[in-house]
Symmetry: C3
């Protein structure tokens, strides 16, 4: 199949503090506005203290449980950390980012990301302070 | 280099229960049946309780060790979890998925995924009950 | 947008032992030498004991902290591991690889990987002995 198209588009997501923010609809809108009907979409976050996850989208308790287990694996203020310039959540934010994802690639079918029924796309802010996070989509495929 | 091609193909993998299931040959077959000789293949799993890993392919003990370390990091029935609707392995399955991968992108050379000698592709089922998992390949490149 | 181009290029990175090795400039050079001005670059490492991370690039203490937290989560010589043929760092190297990344996809803008200000690309060697690691870039996009 030939006639491939490529589009690149960025958006900003405001995060009021630590937690997971649903970006599924924003991504789906941008994909549906592109010319690509069958292809793939890569989501990339341009930061080292916020990351991307594909997570169950039905019960918000799942994402609160994610916070609880991550707080045990990589606690704020852990004495193992020496890079503490920006506070107790600074280094844990970098580790959480590395244990999850900075980029995700999802198939496009019928002009939409072909996510499973229970798959949502989330930006996971790891800092407690509010931030504005830049996200870029690269979309490749055929019309 | 021009003349790019794109193909998208899905398949189903049955999983009898928790464990890693080798999908390397299935993926290699689908890539070799495509028109792409040089390019890249993205593997995507459409679920939040099963994930993808690239793992050592020679000694099956490696994948049993993976289960052992994950059982310690994110134990079934851990009291930290409140989302327990589907049982003690419900929330650990979501966490294990997020700590590993939902998508992997591999170079294609000579019409095959250019994996290292010891790299195998595995679907990691995190639930104890049998499931059928949908996987999609998106293949991009030149003939 | 049409006229897509694809390029695939590999390089070797020597690693004197466990630690993170900055590959940002090497990757940026290869991207800038390609014909692609707007697109995406996927970085892939062909091994199961070395991985890729996007990490804060300003304070080297961040990457030493990464080693410290990983040494606690997945210690060398942990008695849970039975695959110990190549030593105490053999199985931890596989687990560290799986908890981080074998592939990363980054947008290209203006002929360069569009990394955030604080994002660096690192090859994380998980073995203590020196190795030579093969890395492949697949570059897709428009001129």
């Amino acid at each position: 199949m030939s006639g491939l198209r490529f589009e690149r588009v960025s958006f900003e997501q405001r995060t009021p503090g630590r937690g997971t923010w649903d970006i599924t609809e924003r991504v789906q809108e941008l994909v549906s506005e592109s010319a690509v009907r069958s292809g793939q979409c890569t989501v990339f976050v341009h930061h080292t203290s916020a990351s991307l996850v594909i997570c169950e989208n039905a019960d918000p308790e799942v994402r609160r449980d994610l916070e609880r287990i991550m707080a045990r694996l990589v606690p704020d203020g852990d004495p193992v950390f020496r890079h503490t310039a920006e506070g107790a959540d600074d280094m844990p934010a970098h580790v959480r980012t590395i244990l999850t994802q900075s980029s995700l690639t999802i198939p496009i079918a019928g002009g939409r990301c072909d996510l499973g029924n229970w798959q949502g796309l989330y930006l996971w802010e790891h800092r407690h302070a509010p931030h504005r996070r830049r996200i870029t989509l690269t979309i490749l495929g055929v019309a």
